[in-house]
């Protein structure tokens, strides 16, 4: 650092930096800085016009892989739309939409093996469903039936975390346990840009680095934490620059570029699996809709700002690119649309019937065996209900 009196770090250096010094005179291998600092611009492999952008370090996934992922992208978008509709219809209490972030959602699900673990947040419903969890079980939370509806062990997918950044530590613990047993499980832990400010983010990255465990941290930087824009959250050159402070590599990616997301995340996962340790990936994306249905974004951002992101939509560019490759035609598109419609129908039908709710369950899972206190309280409630019923 050069501490120069009077200059203002915060304002002078925003988010767009060029990478320092690749042209060293003697080759001594990469320095820690070169190894751990992110590239100067977010990695992009397919630009918003659907054109391939060459990148030395990140290969473009092949067409079939992209087509399969594109299918999931379209289904993901449909899930967001359907969930929003169900909220409007009063079938669901709340839905934090990932509209616009579906490339991150899909990539997060598909880069993992079956025995890997995913740690999602409330906004990552699409990732969880893409990973294979029953959509209706996922929506248990959002329609208010129970705090979580699926078995985390079945799909190696943790519950969708609400207290920000806390889940990142659980991810480290899961990875650490697997490592101690010699299993080669990789853990992918998701959080938002806002969550990077929490102490638990710091502790999780540091623990992961010190214990050298296979966790990939994916920050979906969608530029907002409810109403708070990124610039009030951090004045670092980028969120990926935080990685070096823990001694792990950081990278930034165009989060609306499915191909880049697959390539960068995939490489980080491979590296973690091969004993390379944790990594931090920052995906640049945008929250196209309100924080949740209860939010009023007009209070803190203009519609025109939002519209700037429409041309960068993850679906459009992938459709163009795949079309140019002749991998998409009307049949394929119809097939994909049908699959998406199928998922939407599952959601709609599922949410149209209320599941049985058993008040006795309230006492059932607090402890493995009910305490005498809970037995008394369960009896009190049962008695009330039987009298009501009578």
């Amino acid at each position: 650092m050069s501490i120069s009196t009077g200059s203002s770090a915060g304002n002078q250096y925003g988010g767009s930096m060029k990478r320092t010094g690749q042209d060293r005179s003697i080759d001594v291998g990469p320095t820690a800085e070169e190894y751990m600092l992110p590239s100067a611009q977010p990695v992009q492999l397919v630009d918003p016009q659907g054109e391939h952008v060459h990148n030395d370090r990140y290969p473009l996934p092949d067409g079939d892989e992209l087509l399969a992922a594109y299918r999931k992208l379209v289904i993901g978008r449909r899930i967001n739309e359907q969930a929003n509709a169900l909220v409007r219809q009063g079938r669901m209490a709340v839905y934090p939409s990932s509209h616009g972030q579906e490339a991150c959602q899909v990539a997060a699900a598909v880069v993992l093996e079956k025995d890997d673990w995913l740690f999602p947040t409330y906004r990552d419903t699409v990732a969880v469903i893409t990973r294979g969890v029953d959509p209706l079980e996922v929506l248990t939370l959002l329609r208010g039936d129970w705090h979580s509806g699926y078995d985390p062990h079945e799909h190696k997918t943790a519950t969708q975390a609400t207290p920000l950044a806390t889940q990142l530590l659980h991810a480290v613990g899961v990875a650490h346990a697997a490592k101690l047993r010699g299993e080669n499980t990789v853990v992918l832990a998701l959080c938002g840009d806002g969550a990077t400010s929490e102490g638990d983010f710091h502790e999780a990255l540091n623990f992961a680095a010190v214990f050298h465990v296979p966790v990939v941290f994916l920050v979906q930087n969608n530029e907002y934490a409810i109403s708070v824009p990124l610039k009030h959250q951090s004045v670092a050159p980028s969120l990926a620059h935080k990685a070096i402070g823990y001694g792990m590599p950081g990278e930034r990616v165009d989060g609306n570029d499915l191909a880049a997301m697959l390539s960068v995340l995939g490489k980080a996962v491979d590296r973690a699996r091969d004993g390379g340790g944790p990594a931090l990936v920052e995906a640049h994306t945008y929250r196209m809709q309100a924080h949740t249905n209860a939010d009023d974004p007009s209070r803190y951002r203009s519609q025109s700002d939002v519209e700037k992101w429409v041309p960068r939509d993850p679906i459009t560019r992938m459709r163009t690119y795949l079309g140019n490759l002749n991998l998409l035609n009307a049949d394929v598109e119809r097939d994909i649309a049908d699959a998406a419609e199928q998922t939407a129908t599952t959601l709609r039908d599922g949410l149209n019937s209320d599941p049985d709710i058993n008040p006795a369950d309230l006492f059932e899972y607090v402890y493995t065996e009910k305490t005498s206190q809970l037995r008394e309280q369960a009896a009190l409630l049962a008695d009330e209900l039987s009298r009501e019923g009578a």
Partner: protein
């Protein structure tokens, strides 16, 4: 995961017309903040989304526009950070009011609250005062998802050095928040979320005058009130449970039983005098609170009442509280919350055969 019950009526910022008018609990708090900031330039407000958005419940609506972003501003998303920064600002001449977005999101700040907010004045023999207010939208009954409905008052009430207030009426929302901001010591100010949209018809000018009078007498902290007079038994409640207790008393009256309702208002300090006087008079008491009962404020009230009124008691002091389980999901919360029926059932068990 998110705000759950925002109504736009709290968002009105225009100067209210004169004379009595309907005022929501939320708007009363908003007005109290604005009046306090107007009265004292050292009052500043910060937290998550309290700036342009006005808070997820709109309690800080319009404050940034009116007082500038130096006096009402958003912070990075870190509750320990918010609380720790508030400690430093209070050390250095400010009167910070911070908002914890929801009850369970105050837990990351727990070390700052317990180890510093509560202890700094005592640690320094009163040389460092911490005149700060921690506003916490708290408790349930709004269909919120997990982590948005905790009744966390017992954690704070058990921590010496904190003053813990819980208004239950629109009037008190205004007066008690003004008093809390003026108070020389740190205050945990618990705002029952489910009352945010409750309304009373009040004359703001008179409320303001009352707040000024209280500023002179300093009487607002530490006093319970008799919210409804009665003779047969005492219901002791605070915050979100007060309306439920009042409804139960109303129902009991129609069955010929006269219940007195005490609104505790100030959990710490606790007004033993008012509570004991009532119980000595009625001889029976039920304590009502949403939080799980075990080792809670409700336990404390039961303990104090039996310690102080033992010979006046015709029956054990009973509790109607949340069960000792995590706060339930929206579709199950009504089984959990103290209800009029559960209160009346409990009153029925107060050994009336003796009476």
């Amino acid at each position: 995961m998110t705000e759950t019950a925002v109504r736009s009526d709290a968002a009105e910022t225009a100067a209210p017309p004169a004379g009595p008018q309907p005022l929501t609990f939320a708007k009363a708090l908003n007005t109290a903040l604005a009046d306090a900031m107007e009265a004292d330039p050292s009052v500043i407000m910060f937290g998550e989304d309290v700036g342009p958005l006005g808070g997820v419940f709109r309690i800080t609506d319009g404050l940034t526009a009116r007082f500038g972003e130096e006096r009402c501003f958003d912070t990075p998303l870190a509750e320990s950070g918010i609380m720790g920064m508030a400690v430093g600002m209070a050390m250095n001449g400010m009167r910070p009011v911070v908002e914890m977005q929801f009850d369970a999101f105050a837990y990351p700040a727990f070390e700052q609250v317990v180890s510093h907010v509560a202890k700094m004045p005592n640690r320094t023999r009163g040389r460092v005062k911490l005149p700060l207010v921690i506003r916490i939208p708290y408790a349930g009954g709004i269909g919120g998802v997990e982590h948005h409905c905790d009744s966390s008052e017992s954690y704070y009430a058990h921590t010496p050095g904190l003053t813990v207030l819980a208004p239950a009426t629109v009037r008190d929302a205004y007066l008690m928040l003004r008093a809390a901001i003026r108070f020389p010591d740190p205050v945990v100010f618990l705002e029952p979320k489910k009352l945010y949209w409750s309304k009373e018809t009040l004359d703001l000018a008179e409320l303001r005058k009352e707040a000024d009078d209280d500023a002179a007498t300093g009487s607002a902290v530490g006093l319970a009130v008799v919210a409804r007079s009665g003779t047969d038994a005492t219901l002791i409640a605070y915050g979100p449970s007060v309306p439920t207790a009042l409804a139960a008393a109303e129902a009991a009256a129609s069955e010929g039983r006269s219940l007195e309702v005490i609104d505790v208002r100030s959990i710490v300090p606790f007004d033993d005098e008012t509570v004991s006087a009532s119980v000595r008079k009625t001889g029976r008491a039920v304590v009502i609170a949403e939080a799980p009962g075990f080792a809670s404020v409700a336990s404390e009230i039961v303990a104090r009442v039996q310690e102080r009124c033992f010979h006046s008691l015709a029956a054990p002091v009973r509790r109607v509280t949340g069960f000792d389980i995590p706060y339930p999901s929206p579709k199950l919360e009504h089984y959990f919350l103290p209800s009029v029926d559960r209160i009346l059932d409990t009153v029925d068990e107060l050994q009336w055969e003796d009476a």
